[in-house]
Point group: C2
Chain length 231, copies 2
DNA sequence: GGATACAAACTTGGATACAAGTATTGACTG
DNA sequence: CAGTCAATACTTGTATCCAAGTTTGTATCC
């Protein structure tokens, strides 16, 4: 019943460590949705008492990563269609605003930043470096927020993205999608550089919509990991 | 050192109760930013052990309402200029999206809903019922999200609004502002009913910008409650 | 053979005792 | 009188024990 991998060796155990560890395990999908985890079990594996584990669970609970059912069990939270919709909406809203701001404030330096990032994405495509591409994708969206002078926007995008990333790891690799994603980025960059906010938003929304297909596919193929009750 | 008011009488004490109680105390500003609160103190006042209080603290911590400094003390979190900016940005982005959606989908029923809400706001103004107006203001924004078919948008707005509401209670009462706020609402409603998304967003952003002046004033008058380090 | 009831083993919730670190306050010394 | 150092009183962090509830397995009875 416990597919929990042993934690890496570390002397300094603390609530933060446990949270970080479980966070990585869950978001990386090494702990699948629905997996039951026990306070005593985690405590033993970390060589600490239940107390710090309890604290860690509380924090993970507010992150919507685990579901604590009193007196019953604690398990990795399943995906919720409604939560995904909400996350997508927030991300779309924030990204749209960031794109508008970026279109307003983009200057020479910003244009160069975008072009450079896209150039490296082409390079990653040529080398079939999916991992590198993921990082560049990350940096591209960060650059947009920087150019738009809304650094907190990227923080929000990151948080929302993390929720969906867990889901997307169930789908097929990004490698096949790289070409069209780069094309999206180019359309976005061009609109920003042309100071055309509406076009930038339109391109950005097209970019986001690609996620919808992926999620829809996963929802069918991995229905077991979805919570039909929602929540 | 402890200005914590005694909790209301209640037999069934639980983590949720403590969270709710402290949440109200903090957001209502009965517990001022910087006030030190102790686990043992709260535990005694509730007649429980430190354990449930700790759990409650963890949850309030992730809500950004308290700041736990290990081995030192726990205090009500001060206001952070950066957090306020971030909250404002998120709220603006989400509200803009909701306004666009509402402008798309508004029908007869939606128009009536908006008009009815505004009519009641006029009534609250005539009666100088600030408390009732606050609730109607709340309902107005909820109606927009309903019409736009983005119920989760209102959840986000609520969360972000709560953060700023705590701050705004330091400022002058809303009573003086009611007329201009109603005028804003009318402009927003008219734009939505005319299916003019751009105008709705513009009016909505004007509405939000009124908050900026209020916050700026508070920041000067109540600098003691602001965290100069930010974070 | 099937259903029901009881018991044992699991889970988290809560209480208490102890450990570790910080700040404050007091005394002592220059 | 001022400065420094140490002790004490505070804080949260951790460990352990007990309580309460759910599930599950097993034995017994029909």
């Amino acid at each position: 019943m416990n597919e929990i991998a042993s934690p890496p060796k570390q002397k300094r155990t603390s609530v933060g460590d446990i949270v970080d560890y479980l966070y990585r395990e869950i978001t990386s999908l090494r702990l699948l949705p629905g997996t039951r985890i026990s306070e005593t079990d985690v405590a033993e594996r970390f060589g600490v008492s239940r107390q710090p584990v309890r604290d860690a669970f509380r924090r993970l609970e507010t992150m919507d990563l685990i579901l604590v059912r009193p007196k019953k069990a604690t398990e990795v939270k399943k995906f919720s269609a409604r939560a995904i919709e909400k996350s997508r909406f927030v991300r779309a809203a924030v990204e749209a605003s960031a794109l508008r701001e970026a279109s307003k404030y983009c200057d020479k330096a910003g244009s160069y930043q975008l072009d450079a990032c896209i150039a490296m994405q082409h390079k990653a495509l040529a080398e079939m470096d999916a991992r590198g591409f993921a990082k560049l994708d990350y940096e591209f969206h960060e650059a947009i927020c920087d150019i738009g002078r809304v650094p907190y926007a990227f923080e929000v995008i990151q948080v929302e993205k993390a929720k969906v990333d867990r889901l997307c790891m169930l789908g097929l690799s990004k490698e096949q999608r790289m070409p069209e994603l780069i094309a999206d980025h180019e359309a976005i960059a061009n609109a920003i550089k042309a100071h055309d906010g509406d076009a930038a938003v339109a391109a950005g929304m097209r970019h986001l919509s690609r996620l919808d297909e992926t999620i829809a596919a996963i929802r069918i193929s991995s229905a077991a990991y979805f919570d039909e009750n929602d929540g």
